[in-house]
Amino acid sequence: MPMDSHTMTVDHMQEAGHPALKPYFDDLAQQRDASTFGMWVFLLTEIMFFGGMFCAYLIFRNLYHDAFVAASNTLDVVLGTINTAVLICSSLTMAMAVWSAHMGRRLMIVVFLIATVLLGLVFLSIKGVEYKEKWDSHHVPGLNFSTDAFTHPEKSQGEGELGHPALPSDVAQHTVIYFGLYFCLTGMHALHMIIGIGILCFLIRFAWDGHYTADHYTMIENFGLYWHFVDIIWIFLFPLLYLISRHR
């Protein structure tokens, strides 16, 4: 049973006066452990949160495969791939920021965090371009949705370069579900990125002020977990939305 019970050691007695130690923790190790574990539990809820949408996606992709293929082909794989790469780069800079914090290098933390923010912004901008394209081709459910591009591909320009035949209207109408889920999934993901970037700005400020020391950088470490998690979500969204339904 001694899975994780704590014993008093001389070591942490000396830390008792550490400015970052909260009064209700015994020592910094316990505090750090607790918050990292807390972060993981939070990510657990995030898995289930996105999981609900993944579940809906799974069901409808199997029910309305043809519609999903047609709709998925309107996405730009090149942009999607670039965005995936951008996000992976931002994960790298984030991991490096955590490592710098671990090494106690203030300036490096700041540099890497700023790099992360920038890459995040690049991702969002590209996403914005894609959304704009969806808006222009009337693929936004509820706002300007139309299935014309699928039922009459010859009329719409810029699209159909993959040369897909016209969809019968009863099949085409189900593309709304694809786009509905597309916007829910990528929108939720983007929202997480925006929140993340907001927090990053604070972290940069704190890091610049020298808040984080080699023995206390839990904030950065936990934020890193969050950022990587958002990356992982995208790693699944990318194939699900862009790749797996390209062929009938």
């Binding site: 309305y64 043809d66 969809l167 019968p168 209207s169 009863d170 099949v171």
Partner: protein, 343 residues
Amino acid sequence: MQSADTFKLFPDSASTISGYVDVHFMFLCAITAFFSLLVACLVVYFGIKFRAEVHPVAKQIHGSIPLEITWTAIPMAISVLIFAWGAILYMRIYTPPTNAMDIYVVGKQWMWKAEHPGGQREINTLHVPIGRPVRLTLVSQDVMHSFSIPAFRIKREALPGRYTTVWFEATETGMFHLYCSQYCGTNHASMLGRVVTMSPDEYQKWLATDAGDSLAAGGEKLFQSMGCNSCHRGDSGARGPNLAGLYGTMVNFNSGPSVIADDAYLRESILQPNAKIVNGFQPLMPTFQGQLSEENLIQLIEYIKSLKDTAHQTQTIHNQQQFPPVLQGGNSASQLPETKKKP
């Protein structure tokens, strides 16, 4: 019988299934009562027998593995029994016999519309003969409703956009309640009516009083007016497959697994014709979604069902064997047309 009493303890039983459900219910009540009383008696008995005044010092007992095993195993065993029993009952209620007569029920906010094959229509009432299995095919025009006849011990959700089925065989003549039991908005509590069960003779008489166009006849008219016959001409050169004798057979598609042509399939074929393309055909058929009401659909389906297999020699693969019913939770037609059974 529907009665003016203000109090009763036992519902009417008026179908062949009632007895089975009642026995199961009584058994479950007995089990529930037994365990509840057992627990209640034990806690009260211990509470009095060992009350502090007479039993000031507790005897510390840490537990007992044999006891734990016993009181896990017994409820387990009872559970398995109830599960099996309940499962059998469920299949009984949701698997219509092959010789059942069809009645269609459409739910909408806030009324039930019943359609008999002979074309008789009723609202919030359902006339049925006793001694004859009746299969109800339910669908909703708007939200979810639920069709409940307590005296028959049956209940089935009416879903928008999808058929569900349930069946019964009435045993008593009389009038019984019929409710909508799924909450469906403002007048949910008024979406009720009655079931009138009658002897077969009376039923025939009742049918005769209200004979209009049969559903199939109505369907035939629609088949012409909607232009179905321009493609489903029945000959081999037609753009669409021959529909005669289609019902109840296995249909193969260009891709994906084959299915049995039941009511649900016919419905889908009309509303989403291109979801599955019949082997050897092109996705030419336009969707009729929005152009046909639920009643129209029922008429068309009845008409297609009524088309006998005369010159059906097409690409649709025929399997002359009896197919076992499809169990989409009973949501689909699951029997062969009666004609198939007669030699």
